[in-house]
């Protein structure tokens, strides 16, 4: 009767879920965040998302056609990569940013390593880091209000300002398109409930990050502080969508947990030490690189071998043995990681302070080149101590006077005074500088000892063009001129696009000058 029966190996039935189906679900799970992004930031956000998705798919299509690799572009994974990348971009990004980012992610990170399943870091994240490195300035311009870049909440948090957690949660604060925590949580938890992402990854990321921030963040387990850090800087996006990327996460459950903890800890270290709002993408990428190692060393054993060590074949050993093993392993990993982290912290803390000192001493020499030696003066030290570490004066923002040295030249004459001052109003935290003043009150020069501003923007305060404006000036107080050319003796030209940084610098210099005129000169 029937002659053309198919012969093939069992099983002869398959689950309904296919690769394309899973990709579609993941895409859907990113839609709430996309939608909120477009509503909050407007049409340009939609354009950015559309461009990054379109160029991701187009890149894979092109690669397929050029290499005759089949139709891998149809499997939907490029859409996911493009959308994830788009959500990590600023809504005001110019058109070439999403296009280049997606092309890099798909062509270089994914296709060149063999396509789906072969890349060793998450393509979307790698694309983002590529953009950060290549277009740092454009990438870190988040929302432009009146021509002034606004700080993202995490940058503001670093700078000590209060942030609005509710805004961050809803996604109406400054940031990338996909910054609505609520929408991301909806999508992420749905994926978890559908068993598409592994809970052991996303939750171990969140838990270890929170724990590390609480322990080492310097503010203890302050709920507001922790929430602000959890809601900002891509932690939720990273935990639910980036870290859980199938290809770049470990295979066994234990491996996945270790990997999640690693991401959380790295993220916290970067947050505390680095302060770049993008630190979370870096921690995921670094953890990605450890995955092959984790997969080599942390492999789960088949059931038949799991209790072989002490139990018997017939499983007649005590039931208790079953439970604690993973618990013990996990606890020890957490402990070891915690100890290691505090060790690194303690070690680097010392060196950071030393480096700080050395930088300070060198900078005094820079601002008072004719001085051979620097000495402390008991009266001046007392005057600094009397300030009690309080904000100096009322006209200089949040500026502080740190210390004063008297510089003497080879002949032992007073060559001038070196004053260290800090402004806490920098874009990314504190700005500390040394100011050299001649005995007659002429400003010799300034030099930065602490400057963590945005590369290409605030960091440009350290360029001669800006800082040498102060050299040889006799004014006792400077004014900042925005977007003009300073002519008057007391006018300083702002670094373009970095007025926050510029004004913090001017404030710190003014505080130092004021201290010189009222205390050093006035006191003598």
């Amino acid at each position: 009767m029937n002659t053309a029966l198919n012969i093939s190996s069992s099983p002869h039935t398959r689950d309904k879920w296919s690769t394309a189906f899973i990709m579609r679900v993941v895409t859907l799970s990113l839609l709430p965040a996309s939608l909120v992004g477009v509503i909050v930031y407007g049409w340009n956000a939609l354009l950015v998302l559309a461009l990054s998705v379109a160029s991701a798919v187009a890149s894979e299509f092109l690669f397929d056609k050029l290499t005759h690799k089949g139709d891998t572009w149809k499997d939907g994974s490029a859409v996911v990569t493009g959308l994830m990348l788009g959500l990590c971009l600023s809504p005001s990004a110019p058109w070439y940013i999403p296009v280049l980012g997606s092309m890099f992610a798909i062509l270089v990170v994914k296709c060149c390593f063999g396509g789906l399943g072969k890349n060793f870091v998450n393509p979307a994240l790698a694309g983002r880091c590529f953009l950060l490195i290549s277009f740092g300035k454009v990438m870190s311009a988040y929302q432009i209000v009146d021509g002034v870049s606004m700080a993202t909440p995490i940058a503001a948090l670093k700078g000590g300002s209060a942030v609005n957690i509710t805004q961050m949660f809803l996604g109406t604060a400054n940031g990338v398109i996909g910054s609505s925590i609520l929408a991301l949580l909806v999508g992420g938890l749905a994926l978890w409930a559908l068993d598409i992402i592994h809970g052991q990854i996303c939750f171990s990321v969140l838990i270890s990050f929170t724990a590390a921030m609480g322990l080492f963040g310097g503010q203890g387990f302050d709920v507001k502080f922790l929430l602000a850090h959890l809601c900002g800087g891509g932690v939720v996006m990273g935990a639910f969508f980036m870290a859980t990327d199938y290809v770049t996460s470990p295979v066994s459950r234990l491996g996945q947990t270790v990997y999640g903890v690693l991401i959380g800890l790295l993220g916290a270290v970067f947050r505390i030490k680095g302060g770049a709002p993008d630190s979370f993408s870096y921690s995921v990428i670094i953890a990605n690189l450890f995955v092959p190692m984790i997969d080599t060393y942390i492999l789960s054993k088949p059931f038949a071998y799991r209790r072989l060590a002490r139990g018997k074949w017939d499983g007649s050993g005590p039931l208790l043995k079953r439970v604690p093993r993973p618990v013990i392993v996990l606890t020890s990993i957490a402990l070891i990681a915690g100890v290691a982290l505090s060790g690194v912290y303690a070690l680097t803390k010392g060196t950071i302070e030393e480096q700080h000192r050395a930088a300070q001493a060198a900078s005094y020499k820079v601002v008072l080149p004719s001085a051979e030696s620097f000495e402390v003066d008991a009266a001046l030290d007392q005057a600094v101590a009397d300030l009690n570490g309080q904000v100096y004066g009322s006209d200089f923002g949040r500026s502080y006077i740190n210390e004063v040295f008297i510089g003497r030249d080879a002949a032992g004459e007073i060559a001038g005074y070196a004053i260290s001052a800090t402004s806490a109003d920098g874009f990314d935290g504190n700005i500390t500088l040394a100011v050299g003043v001649s005995p007659d009150g002429t400003l010799n020069g300034i030099s930065f000892t602490e400057l963590n501003e945005t590369p290409g923007m605030g960091m440009r305060a350290d360029e001669p063009e800006f800082k040498e404006q102060f050299n040889g000036r006799t004014a006792t107080r400077f004014k900042l001129i925005k977007a003009g050319s300073a002519i008057a003796e007391d006018e300083i030209d702002s670094v373009s696009g970095a007025s926050i940084t510029s004004s913090a610098v001017v404030n710190a210099v003014n505080a130092a000058l004021d201290f010189f005129h009222t205390t050093v000169k006035g006191g003598n």
């Binding site: 009767m1 198919n6 398959r14 295979v251 088949p302 007649s316």
Partner: protein
């Protein structure tokens, strides 16, 4: 799907090898008259089983015929007279209390009982472990070995008392064992029927099981009942367990109490292409195509794409339906389309999604095993990933969204490793 007796009319074909072990030796010649229940071939050696005729008629030929694996094998072909005249000496119920343990074992062996769960291992061998006193559980497997099949369910609903009697006979051989009847929870009628049958009996209980594939696997059952996991190098008896399909236990009851050899068993006819799916008590040697035609054939307008002896998960694909049904065949699944073909079209690279790891009943890492096997790293496959532990249940292939042929890869890798071991051992 109630249980119906099916009496074939066409010629009957009895392969000489229907079980694991050596083929049997024919003891009849061409033109010899034969009767139902008559032994027509003798077991050759301990791990072997007799061949029993399931109809009456005359021996037409002893020749090579195509069997379900697609190979040509020596078979005894009987011209069926349709009368089903039984041979002498069975069908009369005897008093079990007079039988010794050796009698029981001898009757099981005489009756040519093999495991009806699929593998076809001679049961009398299984019932003679090294140390009968060390056996703690006799597990009656009432879980269906495959998702589509329902014959165990039907058998338990209609033959509960007989199965319990069979289990009692087995328990006599093992003084320290408890009889556990494992049934999946989605068979409430079977559970209540069996519970009613065991009530008041000693050393026996019904254990409802989670409904999941491969619950009917020997290892899964032992894991649930005895809490024991054991590597592939060990046998169930090593952990104090003997697992028998309820169909086999029913056959034991018939063999011991009625002296009736095994020549018929329960089979599920199912699949989307079948017009009248159903459960049948089928006689060995009937051809699959005769059963299908008698049942009403295929659905109208449907072409048969794939025929499986067994269920969709582990069934053996049939090249033709004109092959005889053997003792251990518990299902015929007929599909109008081939899921393997569809899957092949959807295949993508492995996503590393980990679904295969989640479903593997042995706790293996199929994703990494496939990677190692594809890379030709059989050492890693065997030593690091314990790839030989794979029971080829197919769960990983089934679940894989990328439609990777995982189990097929493992089958080859295992065969390759075994071949290398043999080659190394032979030197």
């Amino acid at each position: 799907m109630p249980l119906r007796d099916f009496l074939p009319q066409g010629e009957m074909v009895f392969p000489l090898s229907q079980h694991i072990g050596k083929p049997a030796k024919p003891i009849v010649k061409k033109n010899d008259p034969v009767l139902v229940g008559q032994r027509i071939a003798e077991a050759d050696g301990f791990v072997s089983a007799h061949v029993i005729c399931s109809c009456s008629g005359t021996v037409k030929a002893i020749e090579k015929r195509r069997v379900l694996t697609g190979a040509m094998m020596d078979c005894i072909v009987v011209d069926n007279d349709g009368a089903f005249t039984p041979a002498e000496g069975f069908g009369q119920r005897e008093d079990a209390s007079k039988l010794t343990n050796d009698d029981i074992l001898a009757r099981v062996q005489e009756a040519a009982i093999v495991g009806l769960g699929g593998a076809g291992f001679p049961t009398h061998v299984k019932l003679r472990p090294k140390d009968p006193a060390a056996i703690r559980y006799i597990i009656a497997n009432g879980a269906e070995c495959e998702p589509y099949l329902t014959c165990n369910d039907q058998l338990m609903r209609t033959r509960a008392a007989e199965i319990v009697e069979g289990l009692e006979l087995m328990l006599r051989l093992f003084p320290n064992a408890e009889g556990v009847i494992g049934i999946e929870r989605n068979k409430p009628e079977a559970i209540s029927a069996m519970e009613a049958a065991v009530s008041g009996k000693n050393r026996m209980r019904v254990l409802p099981l989670k409904t999941k594939y491969p619950q009917g696997g020997e290892r899964s059952l032992i894991q649930v009942v005895a809490g024991a996991n054991f590597p592939i190098t060990k046998l169930p008896a090593d952990v104090g367990c003997i697992v028998e399909n309820v169909g086999t236990i029913y056959a034991i009851q018939r063999a011991v109490l009625y002296h009736e050899p095994l020549f018929s068993h329960c089979l599920t006819l199912t699949g989307e292409a079948v017009k009248n799916p159903g459960n049948y008590i089928i006689r060995d040697g009937t051809s699959f195509s005769e059963l299908l035609e008698a049942s009403g054939g295929l659905k109208e307008g449907v072409t048969l794409k794939k025929a499986l002896c067994g269920g969709p998960m582990m069934g053996i694909p049939l090249g033709s339906l004109d092959v005889p049904i053997q003792k251990q065949n518990n299902g015929l699944t007929l599909l109008p389309e081939d899921p393997c073909e569809i899957a092949e079209a959807q295949m993508t690279a492995c996503l590393h999604c980990g679904r295969c790891t989640t479903v593997c009943p042995m706790g293996l890492l199929p994703q990494l095993m496939a990677e190692a096997a594809d890379d030709g790293d059989l050492d890693r496959y065997e030593k690091k990933l314990y790839g030989l532990e794979c029971i080829q249940c197919g769960s990983c292939t089934y679940i894989c969204p990328a439609k990777r042929p995982l189990m097929q890869t493992f089958k080859q890798a295992k065969a390759e490793i075994m071949a290398r071991k043999r080659a190394a051992g032979g030197k």
